[in-house]
Subunit: 96 residues, 2 copies
């Protein structure tokens, strides 16, 4: 069972991420990715889908043409957990 991040562990984890911000009114983080067009946006989504499936932790995400808005939170922890931070870093490292 993964636990919700809080206090210093949470601050340190968020400080290590690039371009992710906290979602207003939810214990979650978000980042917007913008691409040249739909094929590039969906190629990104496909890379993220494979990363997410391998981690068994999945994003909430919305795509409108060349834009992908990704929200990460951990439903079982009822908030932000290390899984979200790991997935965010993996997205930035291998799919962004």
């Amino acid at each position: 069972m993964v636990e919700k991040l809080s206090g210093e562990a949470r601050s340190a984890a968020l400080a290590g991420l690039d371009g992710w911000s906290e979602v207003t009114g939810r214990d979650a983080i978000q980042k917007r990715f913008t691409f040249a067009g739909f094929p590039e946006a969906f190629a990104f989504m496909t890379r993220v889908a494979l990363i997410a499936e391998r981690m068994d932790h999945h994003p909430e995400w919305t795509n409108v043409w060349n834009r992908v808005d990704v929200v990460l939170t951990t439903h079982s922890a009822k908030g932000l957990s290390r899984l979200d931070v790991e997935l965010a870093a993996a997205i930035d490292g291998g799919a962004g």
Copy 2:
């Protein structure tokens, strides 16, 4: 330039679709698709992505694990057009 659907043409087009409903406050249609899990949901999205790209008309869509919420509207027509109805039918026929 594709035109916004209205009047009888609009009613007839919507009547021909299965499970699509009008979005409150927007000239758009929506449908929720639910699957066994994330791989099945993303497989559906991949099929829809190819259909959308071939039609050069793309959905606004959100995925949360096994669920995909699809919204169709035509930005250039500032509302629902025949492109949305064609894409809805293509999704139901070839990707649902």
